[in-house]
Symmetry: C2
Subunit: 168 residues, 2 copies
């Protein structure tokens, strides 16, 4: 088990990382990130997902060109595309795969590996590049790499007072 104080500190320390060292991840590290995704809960346990591990530099560069704000992805030694299988869970595919992405990001952080959620992209083009079909929704492509440079300062957060209401 993990002590709650330790887990909260872990969440507080996590950052989105947009600069990566030119150093490969081990097979073991990639597998642990995939496992974190696989173990995610899903509606009626349908697991409406597929993970595409992209190490090919040429494909990674092509994909990067589809992104609106993720030009840093081309630096990453590996990226994982999280694909939602629409027909497997028509109502919940988006939520279930979002949960997957959170678990993968946290797993990476515990490995000392940085990532950043990338959403804005030319999805149709990106899907074509990695060979996805009509039943596939490409939720995100998460780049993974060892952190280059300093860990960024925390971003500003709304206070609990501002975002919490009580019905007591």
């Amino acid at each position: 088990m993990i002590k709650p104080e330790v887990f909260l500190e872990f969440l507080e320390g996590r950052r989105s990382i947009r600069s990566y060292q030119d150093k490969s991840l081990s097979e073991k590290e990639i597998e642990m990130i995939l496992e974190a995704g696989r173990l995610t809960p899903s509606a009626s346990n349908r697991q409406p997902w597929e993970f595409i591990v992209i190490k090919n530099k040429e494909i990674l560069l092509k994909l990067t060109k589809c992104l609106h704000y993720g030009k840093f992805m081309k630096e990453a030694p590996v990226a994982i595309g999280i694909v939602a299988k629409i027909k497997t869970s028509p109502k919940w595919y988006l939520i279930d795969t979002s949960l997957v992405s959170m678990n993968m990001m946290l797993m990476a952080w515990s490995l000392g590996i940085g990532t950043c959620w990338i959403g804005a992209m030319n999805r149709e083009k990106a899907k074509e590049i990695i060979g996805l079909g009509d039943n596939d929704y490409l939720l995100t492509v998460l780049p993974f790499g060892y952190i280059k440079g300093d860990i960024p300062e925390p971003t500003a957060r709304k206070s609990l007072e501002k975002i919490v209401k009580y019905i007591e």
Copy 2:
């Protein structure tokens, strides 16, 4: 920091819990769950969310009646509604708040507190009960409580071989 092996074991051990003890959560515990949500990353750091902490038994019972499969919620000493603010992040509100729900569920697990993602409900009615407006999407209501009875067996998961593809 958390060792990656420890974190993976933590994810492996997590279960959805549908039976709760009749015992309140402390303010500190509830705050830690809220904090885990607050610290979640979001698109452009917009934090398009609001958390409704529901302890009122009458409201909780009314809400439970809106659920299709979550009748166990009425047993919980507290539930947290995760509300997405649609206009704050029209494209990403669903994903960002889904990430919040994962972090809250994990935080609860580290506290020894059980929860279960609840999605299928009469949303309009539920929104009315907790006083939400047009700009609010009620993603989920997560019941939280100390685990009653045995921890459930793991649910079956697809193997990595089945859900992973490589582009090398």
